[in-house]
């Protein structure tokens, strides 16, 4: 006998028509396996519908907060380790590049010393020359631009500086978990 249709009706949510209900009852009277299955399903369904909601042990939210804090601490630590790793790799890369670049000069330390000394003296000379040019420009500008404009420019610059410091602190500070 084909029981598929009857099983379909037994385990379905749809409401059966009176005719379908009569056909099903008729079948159940004659078929023991379907009758047992129907009885078992009634018991299972009753159990499922009566089963209570299980609740966690009190203090669940507090435990969640602790987990969140621990997770955020781990995250910050991992970020710091990654940053440190990148910095060390960067330093090694830079030192390696410098070593390759300066390898011929490293063979003779005297030449390297004089070359660096020459470079430093040249830099100092360049900076003092640039300083002289800038001071002459400044002297000329103070004669041209009135005092009010100077105050205005300095005020704007200092406000921009404060704004930059505040936004930098807000962006770099880790978010705190409020208790």
């Amino acid at each position: 006998m084909n029981h598929q249709q009857f099983e379909e009706w037994l385990f379905s949510d749809q409401t059966l028509t009176p005719q379908e209900e009569a056909v099903l009852q008729d079948h159940l009277e004659g078929c023991e396996s379907c009758r047992l299955l129907a009885a078992s399903w009634r018991e299972v369904e009753r159990d499922l519908r009566e089963a209570p909601f299980e609740a966690p042990v009190p203090g669940f939210t507090l435990r969640w907060r602790r987990r969140l804090e621990a997770q955020q601490r781990r995250l910050h630590r991992r970020q710091s380790v990654v940053l440190l790793g990148y910095s060390i790799a960067g330093v090694f890369l830079l030192l390696g590049s410098l070593t390759i670049l300066l390898w011929p000069q490293l063979q003779s330390p005297n030449t390297l010393f004089y070359t660096w000394l020459y470079q430093i003296v040249s830099l100092v000379a360049y900076f003092s020359f640039a300083g002289e040019i800038l001071s002459s420009i400044f002297r000329t500008a103070t004669n041209i631009v009135p005092l009010v404009w100077w105050i205005l420019i300095l005020g704007i610059l200092s406000e921009l500086g404060v704004l930059w410091v505040v936004s930098f602190r807000m962006l770099t500070n880790p978010r705190r978990i409020t208790k």
Binding site: F11, L37, E43, L48, V57, R67, I177
Partner: protein, 197 residues
């Protein structure tokens, strides 16, 4: 209540952990119950429920406010539990590693404790015969009164696939119940079978 909850939701979406903690307080029971019914163990259920809320907190920026928060949250819990069950199946656990059962609440009398634990054992045995996705579908249907549409959304299933899964699950549970009844009614037969082996 809904206004209060939408306030918590919008605050939580801005990263306010205090507002999210209110949501944890409000939804701990449904989330824990789903995890408990899926994993059948208080310790694992606690872990899974905690992890669900952590994942939800991290993904709050992806939460669509037009969708029900409970459906979204239970969907995270369901998928996490499905993964745990699949992982568990791949791991062989020794008897010493099994978690120690949590002692029942003192406020409940010994008789009701026994009947409740018996009921839990029966439900556990019934749900355990099901595939994890079928199990979620049954739990959402019978404990949470979710509509077919909501279960389909949660499990990314079509309505016909869900109907066929529920049909299969109901049949499997009825079959399991029948087998258990048969075994319980014939202890002499089992004794005879074990003595002949």
């Amino acid at each position: 209540m809904q206004d209060v909850e939408s306030g918590w939701l919008s605050q939580a979406q801005k990263g306010d952990s205090q507002a999210f903690a209110q949501l944890v307080e409000a939804y701990q029971k449904p989330v824990y119950n789903l995890c408990y019914r899926m994993l059948h163990n208080a310790e694992d259920a606690e872990d899974a429920a905690q992890e669900t809320f952590l994942r939800a907190y991290r993904s709050m920026n992806r939460y669509d406010a037009n969708r029900s928060f409970s459906t979204w949250l239970l969907s995270i819990a369901a998928h996490y539990c499905i993964d745990q069950i699949r992982k568990r199946r791949m791991t062989i656990v020794s008897i010493e590693d099994l978690p120690i059962p949590v002692l029942p609440d003192d406020a409940i009398g010994p008789e009701s404790t026994v009947s409740r634990s018996e009921e839990n054992r029966r439900i556990k045995a019934l749900l355990e015969v099901l595939d994890p996705i079928d199990r979620v579908a049954v739990i959402m249907y019978y404990w949470y009164d979710f509509s077919y549409k909501e279960i389909c959304q949660t499990l990314s299933l079509t309505q016909s696939a869900l109907k066929s899964r529920l049909h299969r699950a109901r049949r499997a549970m009825a079959q399991e119940w029948m087998e258990r009844q048969t075994q319980a009614l014939s202890p002499g037969r089992r004794l005879h079978e074990s003595s002949t082996v």
